[in-house]
């Protein structure tokens, strides 16, 4: 104001002038803060509340988890002497148990090798620009057999009984097998439910609704204790195999419903056009309907995968040592008796990372595959 009255108005030459900077409050961080944090009275109140909330939570949490925490201690007692925060010492001493369960120590290279192969296969399958992708895909087909041979043994390798499996390795085995098998089974069930043949249709409906109506825990209990009643006398089934079957059946019922949603979203004209071209049922499904239906149901499919993966923790109820089972065993150990928070949080971090990655990949896939009908 002062300046304006004292000085004569500036004279402008004709011609181009350099751009003036935008007003102070409409750019940069200030603008961002104004728009995102302080745009209206409600917004200001929310911001204040959120800042207060974070102020209450973050410092305490950070000092408990990192600053005051003990990372290198042989027992909880030692932890107490070293720091007032969390006690992460068990990770250093027990990570092998958490990873491999009771898998024989001298055979663990097989698990590592199988895992590396798995990572390799995943990279080949999910990364489109991978060199030699076409040839390498053949390897992916062989992978399940190689992995089975490596982990279970036989044919020259020392065989390891499945009750020695445990920890993250067990979660991965249940999760990956379940995911790989439940998708095709789910597709078949969904097609069966849409079928024109009443008996097949009602059998599929009955199966799907039964599985969806009962908790997985009861199915696992049936698998672990009662299944043998329903098998011919003296037929034995490995417990892990039974669990895998149950988990797969369970997930496939949910998968079927997700895919049914996708099938219903494919316009009827598509099937009719396929019929008109003389395609047989399976041809039209494989070439026309399923590709569209699966594309639509990707988010649902991945959600079911994540659900299955998380549900694998329920196997502790029937006495298998998944990471949660190992966590409980750790808490029963003389050295680590006490509050369970750290141990469970450690397991939670593992699940969070793997599930979060799956969810993010699904988002990416969804964006990549969607062919532009989105508004």
């Amino acid at each position: 104001m002062n300046n304006a009255t004292n000085e004569s108005p500036p004279k402008y030459e004709l011609g181009a002038h350099p751009d003036l900077p935008p007003p102070f409050a409409t750019s940069g961080p200030i603008k961002w803060i104004r728009e995102n944090l302080l745009s209206s009275p409600t917004n200001i109140v929310l911001t204040v509340l959120a800042v207060f909330f974070l102020y209450k939570i973050i410092p305490g949490l950070a000092s408990w988890v990192f600053l005051d925490a003990t990372f290198d201690a042989a027992s909880r007692n030692e932890c107490r002497e070293l720091g007032s925060g969390a006690c992460w010492g068990f990770i250093k001493h027990r990570w092998e148990l958490f990873t491999y369960g009771f898998y024989p120590v001298d055979q663990r290279w097989r698990v590592i090798l199988a895992f590396l192969l798995f990572v390799f296969v995943v990279v080949v399958l999910l990364w489109e620009n991978c060199p030699f992708r076409k040839t390498l895909r053949w390897f992916a087909i062989g992978f399940p057999f190689v992995a089975f041979w490596l982990i279970v043994g036989g044919l020259g390798l020392e065989s390891v009984p499945t009750d020695k499996f445990g920890g993250f390795m067990l979660t991965l085995i249940i999760g990956i097998t379940g995911i790989a098998l439940s998708l095709p089974l789910g597709i078949l069930l969904a097609l069966g439910r849409q079928s024109n043949l009443p008996i097949i249709k009602y059998a599929c409906i009955g199966f799907i609704e039964f599985i969806r109506g009962v908790p997985l825990i009861t199915l696992l209990f049936v698998a672990s204790t009662m299944l043998s009643y329903f098998l011919p006398p003296r037929v034995e089934f490995d417990l892990l195999l039974r669990v895998l079957i149950m988990v797969t059946l369970f997930a496939s019922a949910y998968m079927a419903e997700v895919i049914r949603g996708g099938l219903q979203a494919v316009p009827k004209g598509q099937t009719e056009a396929a019929d008109a071209m003389g395609l047989k049922y399976w041809q039209s499904m494989r070439l026309i309907v399923l590709p569209q239906a699966l594309k639509i149901s990707i988010p649902g499919i991945v959600n079911t995968f994540i659900g299955l993966y998380k549900d694998s923790t329920l196997v502790i109820v029937i006495g298998m040592f998944d990471p949660l089972g190992i966590a409980q065993a750790t808490l029963a150990d003389t050295s680590w008796q006490g509050p369970s928070t750290e141990v469970y949080l450690f397991v939670a971090v593992f699940f969070f990372i793997s599930c979060f990655l799956m969810a993010k990949y699904s988002l990416y896939l969804e964006n990549k595959l969607h062919t532009g009908h989105k508004r």
Partner: protein, 340 residues
Amino acid sequence: MKNTLKNAAAVVALSATAFGAQAGTLEDVKARGELNCVVTTGVAGFGAPDDSGKWAGFDVDFCRAVAAAVLGDGEKVNFVPTTGKTRFTVLNSGEGDILFRNTTETMSRDADLKMTFLPVNYYDGQGFMIPSALGVTSAKDLDGASICIQTGTTTELNLADYFRTNGISYEPVPVETNAEAQTNYLGGRCDVFTTDASGLASTRASFEKPGEHIILPEIISKEPLGGAVRHGDDQWADIGKWVVNAIIAAEELGVTQDNIEEMGKAAGDNPSVNRLLGTEGDFGSMIGLDAKWAYRAIAAGGNYGEIFDRNIGPDTAIGLERGLNAQWKDGGILYAAPIR
């Protein structure tokens, strides 16, 4: 998978001919080359995997003895860990061949659940453990306490009966496994932990400060713990029964892991020892085994006293006294039926 199917088909054909008969556990075990022994998921001293995953404990040694008698090698055991809930179904469904899992012999388990119990290998009773700081000296003073119990065990029923007959109240806190019971007890969720006295001792031994907990003097039940097999296969039940008897008798007769080789070489002066170790008579063939069955069973883990001392005796962390479990000659009630 294919193999399983093939087996299934074969067995269906087989079972069609021998309808309903459940005999043949011995043949199954021999054919498999491995004994499926039902054990606990982990009670220190009685049966728990060590750091390397190898099973050890009092009950585990009995499993090994049976495996040694039948298969000739005490290491050929596949341990099937079970919770209190799943143990009988696992045995009944044929997934396990024999059970050694701190299991109390009761009439309903015998008759209704179709178990054949082997001779008692540990006489136990249910007790209470409580932090000594609470100053309680008798179970009668536990009115209103929260009590941790393992579900699916006889202790749950005894507890309800005991408090009911004494007219005192309590809050039951059911837990699935011993590990959870410990966490809850140490976390203060319950004042008292109850289970078999041996289990209490073993649990207390695993505490950081065992001295801060006392076991109350009341023993509120009789818990004869023993192994079990399914009903319907008498030969297999006999094998289990006589392996346990042989191990108990070995202590009475002074046969130990150290001197067994010497004593088993040739018939000695004591006919009882000779019959036990197969240097005289052929008792093994009566139960479908060879003459050296008991020799191998004892050689695998020693006699009763050795198994006891190694796993749960006074010198171990568990620190149990023999008490009722001493030989009848020493004032206990262990009394093996004679092998003759």
